[in-house]
Structures are given as C-alpha cells and as structure tokens.
Amino acid sequence: MTHAQNQVARAVLEGPDIHRALTRIAHEILERTRGASDVVLLGIPTRGATLAHRLAERVAQFEGVKVPVGSIDITMYRDDLRLGPARPLGKTDVPAGGIDGRTVVLVDDVLFSGRTVRAALDALGDIGRPKAVQLATLVDRGHRELPIRADYVGKNLPTAKSEKVKVLLSEIDGRDAVELLKGADR
C-alpha cells in the first residue's frame, strides 16, 4: 500500500453537524456571559477567524446583540518558530473598541497541544487587559501539552497522535466538513 492510500480522509463532521455545533456554542456563550454584552470574539487565523464571524452572526440572530469580532494572529508568539523556516503572518484585526475590561472569547478550529492558545494569551497581553479570556473550539482532539482547556467545544474527538484533523469551511474551502486523516502506520 502506498503512502497516499494510507492518508484516507474520514469525515467526522458534515456541514449540518458543524452548523448545529456552532449554534449550540453561540447559545452557550450567551448563557455563560449573560447576554454577551461585554464579549469580544477573536478568531485565530485562518479558520478560527472565519468561525468567530459565524458565531457573531448567530449571537446577533438569537438575541440581537452585535458582538465585536476580529482576529488575532499568533505567529510572532509561537514557541516553535525556530523549528522551521519563517512563516508568513496572518491577519490581526482588533475591533475598534479594544479588549480592555471585556470578556474575550478566543475562537480556534482545532484544540490540540494547547500551544497555539498559549501563544494567543501572550499576544492578547500585548494588546490590552481583558476582564476574562475564554476559549471556544470546533474540535477538541486531546493530547494537551499545556494546562489549557476549552470553555466551549463543538465536538470532542478522540484521536491518535499520528492522525491529522482537517477542518474545511465553505468560506475558504468551498464546503463544510471535519475530516480525520489516518497517519501512516509505522
């Protein structure tokens, strides 16, 4: 069997599942933050930023609250920059009102080692001083390497460390899906 055949993608979540998961997270954010009046949604590029916008739309739809939404790039704060060539930067777009004294909900597509979130917390600290920081993720695949957990999870997905989780979103990839790619057996 060739390497390519080993990389079979299995869809774990389809479009409607993602839709439902985001709807639930939006409701949970409204519930846990008492109406989301002081919430700022910040997505981690690329797909986290798209998810943050989707969550903001839902929150507006359910309760008519217009939540400021933006993105925060964490490339310059990564702890593994020296392990590869310099990476191109993503977009940082902090809403005009800033984050001081607000509840920031960080949004990412996959929660894995927790290192991205660690970097995001450092990046937030350089932008302002939020009242609280929460974390929303579409998929939690386990294998944490740092003491970090998510406040809102779309789906807990038990995985092997060798597997890959790929999130596809229609705004970027043309369709919605979460796929599990089997790693090569070694």
């Binding site: 310059m76 060539p85 310099a86 191109p88 930067l89 993503g90 940082t92 450092d122 350089d126």
Partner: protein
C-alpha cells in the same frame, strides 16, 4: 532567503512576502506595547563603517521591537581606526554569535564579502554606490500604501543616479514588482552601463513629470563627487530640481518621495518637501516596519 544583499536577488514572491509581512507588522507600531517576542535571544549587530543616522536607528528600532539584542558598532572609535581589516572584524562578530549582521560600508561589495565570513544572515544597509535594498523595499511599501498598487506604476527617479545605491536597488526591485521606472538625470550623473538596467532613461525632467505617478528625488551626493559633474549647483537646481512650478505639472494623485537626507533648495524645494503629497516623513516610519519584516523573515525561523 539567507541574506539580503541585493534587491535584484529577490523574486517577485519574496519581495511581496516582505511587503505583506511589513503591512501586518505596521499595526504593532500603533499599539501601546510596540514589541513582539519573536527574536528573543537573537543577536543583531549593526556594523556601520559610514555615517548614518536614520538607517542605523531604523534597524536598531526594528530589531528591538522584535526583542533581539542589538550591538551597535561604528567604525569611528573602534579597532577599525587602528587598522583592523573587515575580515578580522567579521571574525570577532562571529565569535560573539551574531545571528544577523547589518552592514553599511563605503566599498561596493563589502556585504557580499562579509557573507562568506560569517554564519549569520547579512543585511546590506548600503554599500558604496552599489545597493541599499531595504530602502528600496520601504519605498515600494510606501508607494503601495499611498497608491494601492505597484503593477504598472510609472516611477521617475530623478538626480544623481551615478552615486546612488538607492536608485539601483529601486530599479531592480520595482521592475521585479512590475512598475515602470524612468531615470532622469544629466548624462554626467548616469552610470555607464545604464542601458542594461531594466528601465527607461531621460535627460528631460519636464517631459517625464506629467506622466509620472511617483517622483523620487535623489540627494546630490556632494561628498562622493570629486569631479565636476555639473557647472553649478544653481544650474543643476534649475534643470533637475523639483520646485513649485514643476510640482504643478504632476497629476493630482502623484506622490513625491525622497530617501533623505534632503538638500532643501537643491534637488527639492522646501514647499514641495512639506506638501501633503510628499511621503518623506512616512518613509521613515515605514522603514522600521519593513526592516522588522526583513529581520523576521531572515532570522525568525530556522534557515535549513
């Protein structure tokens, strides 16, 4: 990318990557905490054999905003004045573990030589009359910021092209990025090989101005002139200086640039230099972000 020695070494994609990275980094300068942890523990050496204020300060600010340690070295008052060679200076820096060496030197080609002697990245901050690639990058960045594009832009570079490393780097970079460059100068101030450069040449500023989107005035480098290149400063100013009347010939969206330092009243009149369509002050600010981008892309990752 390992070194940044010539603007001509950059591919279109590499040049655009530097400009795009700089655009993201520009936001850092607007924050209250203007610092990123990216180059923590890395050492950047500023090796300046020629006088410079803005370029040295700009590189220093860029390295510090990325949390690198900066060592400033100027030839005056150093062992160079005791006769130390460039190679021995380089080996000293090497022993100190420099991750990047920013070098300005009076001799064309010095950064190229240095790159063979040190393990770190070499950034050319101006070598003789050869090149000044980060200046070209910040000029391109400023043009794109003001005019929204570089492709098809008509750029006139006016003045002392012969002694100008800024002109050469700009011609090479801008042609890579799809802009059309016209050099305007008296024949005595054009290099011999100029017909092989990827640009047009004209001796008549008044004919070029109405078509230009960008006019870049070069400083008349009196310190490099040991022969008479033009009859008098006044005649030069008459024929090749950008004064109010010539400024009026530009179309309404055209911008005026100058790499600094300016000789006000010589190549550019004070009125033009201070007009809202001059980018001279923002070029300085853009210099820091572009140099941050270059440092990050050269030494931010592992170059294997």
């Amino acid at each position: 990318m390992k070194h940044l020695i010539s603007a001509g070494d950059l591919s279109r994609d590499e040049a655009l990557l530097i400009l795009d990275t700089a655009e993201e980094l520009a936001r850092v300068s607007e924050r209250s905490i203007k610092k990123l942890p990216t180059l923590r523990g890395r050492t950047v050496v500023n090796l300046f054999f020629e006088d410079s204020t803005r370029t040295r300060i700009s590189f220093e600010a860029a390295a510090k905003r990325l949390s690198a340690d900066v060592i400033n070295f100027s030839a005056k008052g150093s062992s160079v004045s005791k006769g130390e060679s460039l190679k021995d200076t380089a080996l000293t820096l090497e022993a100190m573990g420099a991750d990047a060496v920013v070098i300005r030197h009076g001799a064309s080609g010095a950064p190229h030589r240095l790159a063979n002697w040190v393990r770190g990245s070499v950034l050319n901050a101006g070598d003789g009359t050869h090149e000044h690639p980060t200046q070209a990058l910040l000029d391109a960045f400023s043009m794109r910021q003001r005019l929204g594009r570089l492709e098809g832009l008509k750029v006139a570079i006016v003045g002392d092209v012969l002694h100008s490393r800024v002109a050469r780097s700009n011609v090479l970079l801008l042609s890579t990025l799809g802009a059309e460059v016209t050099l305007v100068a008296p024949p005595t101030l054009l290099p011999v090989s100029v017909e092989r450069w990827p640009c047009q040449v004209s001796y008549d500023l008044d004919a070029v101005l109405p078509k230009a989107d960008v006019v870049m005035m070069l400083r008349v480098q009196l310190e490099r002139m040991n022969a008479a290149y033009f009859p008098s400063a006044r005649e030069y100013s008459r024929r090749y200086g950008l004064d109010r009347d010539r400024f009026a010939k530009l179309h309404d969206d055209a911008i005026v640039m100058h790499p600094g330092p300016m000789n006000r009243g010589m190549e550019i009149s004070a009125e033009v230099a201070d007009s809202p369509r001059s980018t001279i002050v923002e070029q300085v600010g853009n210099g820091v972000t572009v140099r941050m981008a270059a440092l990050y892309l050269l030494i931010g990752g592992e170059n294997q």
